[in-house]
Amino acid sequence: MTVLQGIRILELANERISFAGKLMADMGAEVILIEPPEGEASRHYPPFVDDDETKPSLYFWHYNTSKKGIILDLTQADGQDTFRQLAASADVLLESEPIQRLTELQLDYAQLSTLNPDLIHIAVTPYGRDNPLSDLPVTDLTLMAAGGPPWSCGYDDHNLPPVRGWGNQGYQTGCHFAFMSMLTALMARNAGLGGQFIDVSMVASLNVTTEAATYTYHINGGEVQRQTGRHAAVLPTGESQMRCADGKYVNTGVPPRFPDEFGKLLDWLRKLKLEDELPEAVFLQMGAEWQGHFDLSRIGEDDEITAIFSAGRMALTLIASRISAYDFFIGCQNAGLAVGIIYSPEEAFEDPHFIARGFQQEVMHPDRAEPVRYPGAPYKLAASPWQIYGPAPDLGQHTAEILAALKD
């Protein structure tokens, strides 16, 4: 049984919201991607199958799994009529149009809701529906810059620019809120409150996805500053990224700070026969035998605490310089330290943990002999699992089927 089975969603094709439609479709909703006759622009975005731009876009494939696709020319009267009929049969309209466009087409919420009072209309715009900036062109990069994330991301060296986290995370953050809104509105509708209009701002979504940058300012006016590979902070903090013997990096997270951790770290150092190379290992022994509370707030004041704490960091640095990032990650975790290898996406995808959990999802494509491996479930619902129901639609693949059903 799929949770959203029977829920019909109209998605007016736009690269900014395609991920929201995918989140809905992969939970079983019938998502009808409505494209203009020339098709959605992202059908022509790389990467392409076999790097051949005459072949399908893998970008489009990814963001449009489990959807149906129809062509509808909303600039023509018959296209508008068909759209009205579809809206009457739908549960959700998901769109990212210019603010006035649907009103000009006489297809806005005021009109559609008279046809279908239970319709949930979700408008996802760059700056919200009441801000004319929403009609100006944007990219993921400019949304991110305006919404706050790059201010906090980059390097200790502020001659280097702030960094935008890669991968359409600005679009995707807006899409997360669109999907959460849709589920919330479905629950409200189930409670008898009918449909409604929902205005999702992408820049606002990013603004509340900035953690301490925002709440620090609110609480005391402090301004966080970006630092290499770790949280932006008002006052500088210690580095947390280390380069290992194979050139790959790890994030060491919170340094060792409990007696048990010092003990395990010392054992590991011994196992690697590195104890003799670290004169400070003696402090790890002291740390392992520490009685009572190891008070981190006394670093810099208490000589023993300071020496033990820095010996932990030195031991990790020494070990990292001698072994691979993967061995460092596993070794630290086995010593109880929350450390992570800095994987590239494909390295994570092929990692045994995610393979064992079944994260790789195989999807059959009609013109390919072998299934294509896709990223899988973001959550595992035991009774109503996430799944890819089919590959992204070809342009207009379901037009005849959907329109014929409307006439019945």
Partner: protein
């Protein structure tokens, strides 16, 4: 809707914050012995000037608005009994502990289902509850490291820049909120509860879609001899596309030209001879370093606001890199940050929700609960205890 909520930090608390803002009764359970410190944010700064300690952490307050807070000393059988009573009247149990914590208290999923057959149980755990790394520990930056998000956020010839905050605590919370609502909708439809195993690392990995298909279909890894700048755009290719220095100290502007038309407008504005050698996308992509140097020479003499306005007038995609104060004080963001009342902190401005619902709007009014602030209310109003019984339970160290 009522949530029996063990979540903490941001990765869990952010999920139930959304539900609380839309009117769910979220009852947060804390340990009186450790004074709720399993959520490290409880007593962690930043603080309001003149405040500090357990009740004053800004992050804790921000992530726990509109929730009730009760204390239960689950080492005691009387407290376990109260928890059973609470689960009986709850729709969902939520937590983001390490694997096995809830089981160790005797409240694993099988037990929860015994107590309430249609309960929804959602855990949000770094590596999930199943798989070779399920015993391993994470926090936001570790999730980002494992999933490729740290790696891909970088400049060339530099170590990964990563994310300067816990993007995946926020985003893990969004997936947790989705999972809770999906499971509740499933229950409304079928009458059946279920267990959700959310591995935050998997939610993170799923955010790399096109790159992963490039790997599985074309065998192209993202790890290259020299990593490309993540301020540039590959999918689709655009140039210029970057963050450029402006006049002032640490002031920057983001500019994207999506196509030749955007570029032609920008080139006309810049009005310099060098632009002629970058007319086609192919030319611009072939020498992005050279192009970026020229663009930056042009932006560096102007304020970011001036560049932003000039490019909006064209218009082409542009945005000044906003400092916290600039975006927070932007009148366009009015309403995004409500002022809530916290029993100890007083009035505090917090993150609201970036959505406007026409019929069922979110509301945030109350700050995070102080330790045990709502214990008496929940036990008497909801679970039928008398005031005297609650007093005795406090005296006996159960609450």
């Amino acid at each position: 809707m009522r949530i029996c909520d063990f979540t903490g930090q941001l990765a869990g608390a952010g999920a139930t914050k959304w539900l609380a803002a839309f009117g769910a009764e979220v009852i947060r359970i804390e340990d009186p012995v450790r004074q709720g410190r399993w959520d490290i944010l409880r007593g962690t700064g930043p603080f309001k000037p003149g405040q500090s300690g357990l009740e004053y952490g800004a992050g804790f307050n921000n992530h726990n608005t509109d929730k009730a807070g009760i204390t239960l000393n689950l080492r005691r059988s009387e407290a376990k009994h109260i928890l059973v009573e609470l689960i009986k009247v709850s729709d969902a149990v939520t937590e983001n502990f390490a694997k096995g914590v809830l089981e160790s208290w005797g409240f694993g999923y099988d037990r929860l289902r015994e107590i309430k057959p249609d309960i929804v149980y959602v855990s949000n755990c770094g590596f999930g509850h199943v798989g070779p790394y399920s015993e391993y520990k994470t926090w936001g930056p570790i999730v980002q490291a494992i999933s490729g998000l740290t790696f891909s956020s970088t400049l060339p010839h530099q170590p990964p820049a990563g994310w300067g905050y816990s993007y995946m605590d926020h985003t893990g919370a969004y997936y947790m909120a989705m999972a809770i609502m999906l499971a509740l909708l499933h229950r409304q439809k079928t009458g059946e509860g279920q267990r959700v195993d959310l591995a935050c690392t998997e939610a993170a990995l799923s955010l790399n879609g096109p790159a992963l298909l490039d790997w599985t279909v074309n065998q192209r890894p993202m790890r290259q001899a020299v990593q490309p700048s993540s301020n540039r755009s590959q999918f689709k290719p655009m140039a210029p596309h970057g963050i450029y220095r402006c006049l002032g100290d640490d002031e920057w502007v983001a500019i994207s030209c999506r196509d030749d038309e955007d570029w032609a407008k920008l080139a006309q504005l810049i009005d310099a001879a060098w632009t002629a050698s970058f007319t086609t996308l192919q030319q611009r992509l072939a020498d992005q370093d050279g192009l970026d140097t020229q663009i930056e020479a042009w932006t560096a003499g102007q304020t970011k606001q001036a560049v932003e306005q000039a490019l909006r007038d064209l218009p082409i995609p542009v945005a000044a890199v906003a400092r916290p104060a600039e975006r927070i004080n932007d009148p366009a963001n009015q309403g995004l940050w409500p002022t809530v009342t916290h029993s100890a902190m007083g009035e505090v401005v917090v993150d609201g929700q970036p959505v406007k619902f026409s019929t069922t709007p979110w509301r945030s009014q109350r700050g995070a609960p102080c330790l045990s602030e709502h214990t008496r209310d929940v036990l008497t109003r909801l679970l039928g205890y008398s005031d005297e019984e609650v007093t005795v339970l406090y005296e006996e160290g159960v609450l």
